[in-house]
């Protein structure tokens, strides 16, 4: 039943002088999983992502993607290996239209960038695929709008859509729903999950503050606290572990989250199970 690990960190530590941002973190992401990483601010989430995306070389320990050591190999090479990411702080090409935004991702995936003389507009395959992806994300009507002029939620979607256009095996989503209204959050999650499926993504790593999203969409949750893995279990198991939940989320939010967990209608759970 349990599939092979595609991305794993073994005893990873990352320190900045005296301060340990990560200490002896061991985790693995298996094929077909949606794994959430949660933790309070300063728990080491960002550092972990940067280590997992090959941006930082860990001070100790190793990170493997598809059996290859990726410690500090840098984003460009890692992307070519099949690991893509989206960003918490918006990363867009302000002067690109929605369509161009997707085109550049496909061009990069296909290694066409070095083509000096072929016409971009006349590439039917490229145009067709770009439009298809834009359609998946419900942005077809806005295909000629400059991405700088899109609303926040659409910018987030576009960032994710371009990452998915790379056909990655693993995608790491850094707070895909932060800064977006509550009503938009579920829409974004639904769209990105179905699009991931259609583009052949094997596993999703989600970093998220919104506990409703985390608990309804994850197969597994990894809780970080002060640079250590505090819990690595299913949502159901984590719910029962009041101590971990409180530590991870802090006192005030803790009560809110328990409230929302208790009040949540069972329908929402079932939607994910189905």
């Amino acid at each position: 039943m349990q599939k092979a690990a595609i991305l794993n960190a073994n005893d990873v530590s990352k320190s900045y002088k005296e301060f340990f941002a990560l200490s002896e973190v061991t985790l693995e992401i298996r094929e077909g999983e949606i794994v959430s990483i949660i933790g309070p601010n300063g728990a080491g989430k960002t550092t972990l992502i940067n280590v997992l995306t090959g941006l930082f070389r860990p001070t100790a320990g190793t990170v493997y993607f598809k059996g290859q050591d990726i410690g500090g190999i840098g984003p460009q090479k890692l992307t070519k290996l099949g690991l893509a990411r989206s960003f918490q702080l918006l990363q867009i090409f302000p002067e690109f239209t929605t369509l161009e935004f997707i085109k550049i991702a496909i061009v990069s995936r296909q290694g066409k960038g070095i083509n000096l003389f072929s016409s971009l507009d006349k590439d039917k395959g490229l145009n067709g695929e770009s439009e298809e992806i834009i359609n998946m994300f419900g942005l077809y009507e806005k295909r000629n709008v400059l991405s700088a002029n899109l609303p926040q939620g659409d910018k987030k979607l576009l960032d994710i859509a371009s990452a998915l256009a790379l056909h990655p095996e693993v995608i790491l989503l850094d707070e895909p729903t932060s800064g977006v209204s509550t009503s938009e959050k579920n829409r974004i999650m639904d769209i990105l999950l179905s699009a991931s499926q259609r583009t052949g993504v094997k596993s999703i790593v989600l970093v998220e503050h919104d506990m409703d999203i985390v608990f309804s969409f994850s197969d597994r949750i990894i809780a970080l606290h002060q640079g250590r893995v505090l819990a690595d279990c299913t949502p159901a198991e984590l719910e029962k572990n009041e101590e971990v939940v409180c530590t991870v989320m802090g006192q005030k939010e803790c009560f809110q989250t328990f409230d929302s967990l208790l009040n949540r209608e069972s329908g929402e759970r079932n939607r994910h199970d189905a």
């Binding site: 995306t53 840098g74 984003p75 460009q76 992307t79 070519k80 893509a84 990411r85 960003f87 990363q91 867009i92 090409f93 302000p94 002067e95 690109f96 161009e100 085109k103 550049i104 991702a105 061009v107 990069s108 995936r109 066409k112 960038g113 070095i114 083509n115 000096l116 003389f117 072929s118 016409s119 971009l120 507009d121 590439d123 960032d159 371009s162 990452a163 790379l166």
Partner: protein, 324 residues
């Protein structure tokens, strides 16, 4: 509807410009035609400069290096008894390409002010080289440029001015037109999209799997070749190449033309080169303090239309479009 009529308008302006250029030697004075030869040279130089600046986002302060390199290549080739302009153009592409490969490999590892200063430094090195190694370069006096052979024909017995205003005019018009079209193709290619992406957002580009510095390097090389081609076309017009072509003032002129015309549009720098060259020519003959007036005019344009003249036209057209 309006978009289509705008498109038609643009095509119409293009055809008009083409026709004027085609018949300029017949309808204009000799002087105006002669100045136009300078515009052709600057057009390629400034297109090359803006390919790096407007599309990739790297501001070179040292493109006078490539401009003078192109011009000196013509003089050197003639010293070796190579007079065929086609062959000289080919040599210019090879030489400037090689120099751009070497200098670019160092410069494109840096961005922003560091890149600019490095390019500036290389241009100053070349400038000093041209002055100090006078036994090769002719020093301050420079080197003479004779009448080149065009498409295998020797025009040595045609008076120089007549040659420049007729045969050479149409020759440079053709070369400039063709190479401009090639650059337009590059801008509209996947390569063009990729370097625009890098300028827009480097971090995101890297996470899309684009190897940034490879593209920077390639762009630098293409840019250098174009600016050198501009210098090469200019050399027979000047008749004598000297170190002032490598002076940073030349790099500054290319920047001013670009800002004047507008760096965000492909034709912006070309318009800038046209206005800059004719304005300079007019003011130089009309006024004693032409630099003063010239500087004030440029300052005025940059303040009133920070996006350049093409940028101003573009936003004006958009306003009409939005208003209806």
């Amino acid at each position: 509807m309006i978009l289509r009529s705008l498109m038609k308008g643009k095509i119409l302006v293009g055809i008009m410009a083409g026709l004027i250029l085609l018949f300029l030697p017949r309808i204009a004075t000799e002087h105006i035609t002669f100045v136009m030869l300078g515009v052709f040279g600057f057009t390629l130089a400034v297109l090359g400069f803006n390919f790096l600046f407007g599309y990739l986002g790297l501001l070179s302060l040292g493109h006078s290096l490539f401009f003078s390199l192109g011009a000196y290549t013509v003089a050197f080739s003639m010293r070796q008894s190579i007079f065929s302009m086609e062959l000289i153009i080919l040599i210019t592409i090879l030489v400037s390409g090689l120099v751009a490969i070497l200098i670019g490999a160092i410069c494109v590892r840096y961005t922003q002010i560091h890149f600019s200063i490095l390019t500036f430094a290389f241009a100053m090195l070349f400038y000093s080289f041209l002055i100090k190694f006078y036994f090769v370069t002719g020093g301050d006096d420079g080197l003479r440029v004779l009448t080149p052979h065009l498409v295998g024909t020797n025009f040595a017995d045609v008076p120089k001015m007549q040659f420049l205003l007729r045969e050479y005019y149409y020759y440079t018009l053709t070369v400039t037109g063709l190479t401009t079209w090639v650059l337009w193709r590059i801008v509209k290619s996947p390569f063009g999209l990729t370097i625009r992406a890098i300028r827009n957002n480097q971090v995101k580009s890297e996470y899309l799997g684009i190897s940034i510095w490879k593209y920077r390097w390639a762009t630098f090389i293409i840019s250098g070749i174009y600016t050198a081609l501009g210098g090469a076309l200019m050399a027979p017009v000047i008749g004598n190449v000297d170190p002032s072509l490598a002076h940073w003032f030349q790099s500054g002129s290319l920047i001013l033309m670009t800002l004047l015309g507008g760096f965000a549009q492909f034709v912006g720098p070309v318009l800038g080169a046209l206005i800059f060259t004719y304005l300079q020519d007019f003011l130089m003959s009309a006024l004693h303090y032409w630099r003063f007036v010239f500087g004030a005019l440029l300052a005025f344009v940059v303040i009133v239309a920070p996006e350049g003249i093409m940028g101003a036209i573009d936003s004006f057209l958009k306003k009409i479009k939005g208003g209806v």
